[in-house]
């Protein structure tokens, strides 16, 4: 009882703490979850991880749309004979307690037959009987224990995604063949003239041939396809020499065993393909719980409440909303279409769209844009457009969203591959012509031997291992990359463009300052009391920061929507609100949100709400400006220009009043002079993020929402951005060094090949040796480079 941390969620308990069962809880919600768990024998939840829970934030009507069987059917994975299977995304899943309690859901309701958590994807698959249970009840149950699933338009009608497991199969085939061929080829490495071997070597060799067939035909097919595609578009990528090497290995070995010339290189062949596939597999590390392809669909709701002409409410699918429909938007619901406010007090939070956290008050008759979130009461609106034609969703019609950034980019490996292929082919031809003149019987032997030994296995492995490793290191420090290709593009960045609101500023806190005459104690007390009565978001945040005063009884309280509040107690009166409302001549300053105060009909002053800039920005810009040219693009007006100049007294160009399309075009123009990185956060940056070479989405909470991008950066570590760029450049250096290293191995091998002495056993030793030493080198090098970064980070904090 000494600790004042909530037993369930770990938040500190203020004076509102709830005591129950000798434990302390921060609120009724947490206590209720504890009660549910303890009465059902699930207390072990708290033994696994202390305070793992979350306060349930459950709104009774939120899931009413799950009464609509059409919508439910679209969400279900399986629905037959009284059994339903659903796969839900639960962002809160974060520890072993979560897995345990969610996999024991049948304790909470017997209709749940089984539930299985996929931790990396933060999803749960629940199988339940429909006779006494519905999907809605299940979702409500999950929400009540604090695991509220997010059901968005993205889930709608999504057929079970086909998982591509071909790489695992190929890896399995190659590994299986590699192991067996190794065993079968082992005897011939040593005693070639032995009686036993002479008798059975034909069997052994044809068995090896049989094992390598599926490897060449199935496991290696990606390399052939890629090489063919490269050649057709007149590009010599790294897969060309690899494919050549594989073919040379296979045909030379087959000819060898057919004419009894030797044991062939089947061991090298299968080993080569196995190692290459391991490299591919390593590179494929993805953050399954993050999505880099999100568009508006992943955070728009599935259904919305429509008001029928008869006045009845019904839940309809969002795509069925037509212009002219009357919709009901409740507290915390997203506005799905551009619409006009008819009834009610709207407070719209556009933070998903612009990054601006301060809610905007709207009156009946005002237009609302899709993507805003209603805070406060229920409002009635009239849809003016359909979902796909709304202001924000139209942006996704732009062709940049279907553009593939990878296809237009030549990777460092491919750039090397070009020169490499030419070099290998010329060496092979020169060596073969020499032998044709000197000893024609050996010419074919030498030609294939050069192709075999020069097969750039180690080069092809250098990039996947370096970049894959670096990607994991980035992830550890709060920067999640979509794939390794992003890292290569990052190394070439010449320009960095920042969004302002939500990216450079943090939406978590805004600073409030008071300017004007000091308030008398009675006035201050009255101010606090009056604010308490209002539900306006500005009133709420102002109320939070004001000092404690005795709460008085108000004699009179009036709230004029969109204007302000008036409170009267005893002989005092106070007016809080817009400049006009409190009666001041002061010029309205649009650059910042302010709340004006007048007491007893005399103007006192105003509270100004300012965005807080993230800490460490000057340092970030100082280090960045040596590496790239910097720009700031903002959708807001230029009221913050001076503050920004003071904060960042460097050569940073700033542009204000930029619409989403303007940002996109601006990036396009910058790209004429080099690679551009865009750092943004809201949906309004989505176009610019897609257009830029590296789109970085800044997120306060990486699990919640971010627009389509190449990398997701935790907002708290934005100051590390220049280090990440530095690391990306260093990785390229590491790759180049490992190219040199593998070239040494190639030279040794070429000596044997050109002089016609390449024995299978030499190939079998040299090839894995070079691959393994490259993997070891890149792993050690990336970790050393990264350790320097971590040390500087630790020094800072």
């Amino acid at each position: 009882m000494e600790s004042s941390k909530c037993y369930h969620c770990g938040d500190s308990c203020s004076n509102t703490a709830v005591h129950f069962d000798e434990k302390i809880f921060c609120c009724q919600g947490c206590k209720m979850v504890y009660e549910i768990f303890s009465t059902n024998g699930l207390e072990y939840y708290y033994d696994l991880e202390a305070a793992a829970g979350t306060t349930p934030d459950f709104k009774p009507h939120k899931f009413d749309y799950l009464d609509n069987p059409e919508i439910v059917n679209r969400l279900l994975e399986f629905n037959e004979e009284g059994m339903q299977v659903v796969n839900l995304h639960i962002p809160h899943i974060h520890c072993s307690s979560c897995i345990w309690v969610l996999e024991n859901l049948n304790r909470l309701h017997p209709a749940v037959k089984s539930s299985q958590v996929d931790f990396p994807q933060k999803r749960i698959r629940v199988c339940f009987t429909t006779s006494e249970y519905t999907l809605k009840q299940l979702v409500v149950l999950l929400s009540r224990i604090g695991y509220e699933p997010t059901i968005s338009l993205e889930d709608y009608g999504k057929k079970k995604a086909k998982v591509d497991r071909s790489l695992i199969y190929k890896l399995g085939v190659a590994g299986f063949a590699f192991g067996n061929v190794m065993l079968l080829s082992f005897p011939e490495y040593f005693e070639v003239e032995e009686f036993w071997l002479e008798q059975y070597k034909v069997v052994f060799r044809w068995l090896m041939f049989a094992f390598s067939l599926p490897v060449v035909l199935y496991a290696a097919q990606d390399y052939f396809i890629s090489a063919y595609k490269g050649l057709r578009s007149k590009l010599l990528n790294i897969d060309v020499p690899i494919a050549l090497g594989i073919l040379a290995l296979f045909f030379r070995s087959t000819v060898d065993i057919v004419f009894d010339l030797g044991s062939g290189f089947f061991d090298s062949l299968t080993g080569l393909i196995f190692f290459l596939l391991v490299g591919k597999f390593f590179q494929q590390k993805t953050y399954a719980f993050l999505s880099f392809e999100r568009d508006y669909k992943s955070y728009f709701p599935i259904a919305v409440t429509r008001l029928q002409d008869s006045g009845q409410e019904e839940n309809i699918e969002i795509f069925k909303v037509k212009s002219g429909d009357r919709l009901i938007i409740r507290n915390q619901e997203i506005i799905p279409v551009d619409c006009m406010l008819l009834k009610g007090n709207a407070e719209i939070d556009y933070s998903f769209v612009t990054g601006e956290s301060q809610a905007i008050a709207k009156q009946p008759g005002d237009n609302l844009f899709a993507g805003g979130k209603q805070l406060g009461g229920v409002v009635e609106v009239e849809a003016m457009k359909s979902v796909s034609q709304s202001y924000l969703t139209q942006l996704w019609g732009n062709s940049v969203f279907s553009k593939n950034k990878v296809s237009g980019f030549q990777t460092i490996t491919d750039a090397i591959g070009r020169r490499f292929t030419i070099a290998v082919l010329s060496i092979a031809v020169i060596a073969a012509s020499f032998w044709l003149w000197y000893d024609p019987t050996k010419a074919a032997n030498v030609f294939t031997a050069v192709l075999i030994i020069a097969c750039p296995c180690a080069i092809a492995l250098a990039a996947p291992f370096t970049l894959g490793n670096m990607m994991r290191i980035f992830g550890k420090y709060g920067c999640y990359l979509k794939d390794t290709n992003v890292l290569e593009r990052m190394a070439k960045i010449a320009t960095v463009v920042f969004d302002k609101t939500g990216t450079l500023t943090t939406s978590n806190e805004s600073s409030i300052t008071y300017e004007g005459m000091e308030l008398y104690p009675e006035e201050a007390a009255l101010l606090k009391t009056t604010l308490r009565a209002s539900n306006h978001p500005l009133s709420r945040s102002l109320y939070q920061i004001l000092q404690e005063h005795d709460i008085q009884m108000l004699d009179e309280f009036t709230e004029e929507l969109g204007k302000g509040l008036e409170g009267k107690a005893k002989d005092q009166s106070i007016r809080i609100g817009s400049a006009e409302y409190v009666g001041t001549e002061q010029q309205p300053d649009f650059s910042e949100t302010s709340v004006h105060i007048s007491a007893n009909n005399t103007y006192k002053g105003r509270f100004a709400f300012r965005n807080n800039y993230r800490k460490g920005l000057p340092d970030l810009f100082k280090t960045l400006k040596t590496k790239a040219s910097l720009y700031i693009l903002s959708g807001d007006n230029d009221g913050e220009r001076r503050a920004l100049h003071q904060l960042l007294p460097f050569k940073v160009q700033m542009y204000f009043n930029q619409k989403p399309e303007d940002k996109l075009e601006f990036i396009e123009k910058l790209q004429e002079s080099g690679k551009v990185m865009m750092v943004g956060d809201g949906l309004n940056d989505a176009g610019a993020l897609a257009q830029s070479d590296v789109g970085v989405a800044v997120a306060e909470n990486v699990n919640v929402f971010s627009p389509a991008c190449d990398a997701i950066l935790d907002g708290k570590v934005i100051t590390r951005l220049s280090r990440f760029l530095e690391l990306a450049k260093r990785s390229m250096g590491i790759i180049k060094w490992s190219f040199l290293l593998s070239l040494c191995y190639n030279l040794i091998g070429l000596y044997f090949a050109v002089t016609g002495q390449l024995e299978p056993v030499i190939a079998a030793i040299l090839m894995p040796l070079s691959s393994i030493s490259i993997v070891a080198f890149t792993t050690v090098a990336t970790n050393v480079v990264a350790r320097r970064l971590t040390q500087t980070i630790q020094n800072e904090s």
Partner: protein
């Protein structure tokens, strides 16, 4: 017929059995989520049986 053929046949068929087992397990999706099972195997029968039976009637509350 030499014994070496028998041995080869046995060793290869054992290898193929394992290979088929691998393919089947991939097909069933056992490789899709490589993390959760590692946590799941550490859970034992921590469920308190008596208390849940005692409180069976309370279950209706949780619906």
């Amino acid at each position: 017929m030499s014994v070496i053929y028998v041995l080869l046949a046995i060793s290869i068929s054992v290898a193929i059995v394992f290979f088929i087992a691998f393919v089947v397990s991939v097909r069933q999706g056992q490789y899709d989520d490589a993390y959760t099972p590692s946590v799941r195997m550490l859970f034992e029968d921590e469920l308190v049986d008596e208390s849940s039976e005692k409180n069976n009637q309370n279950r209706s509350q949780t619906e």
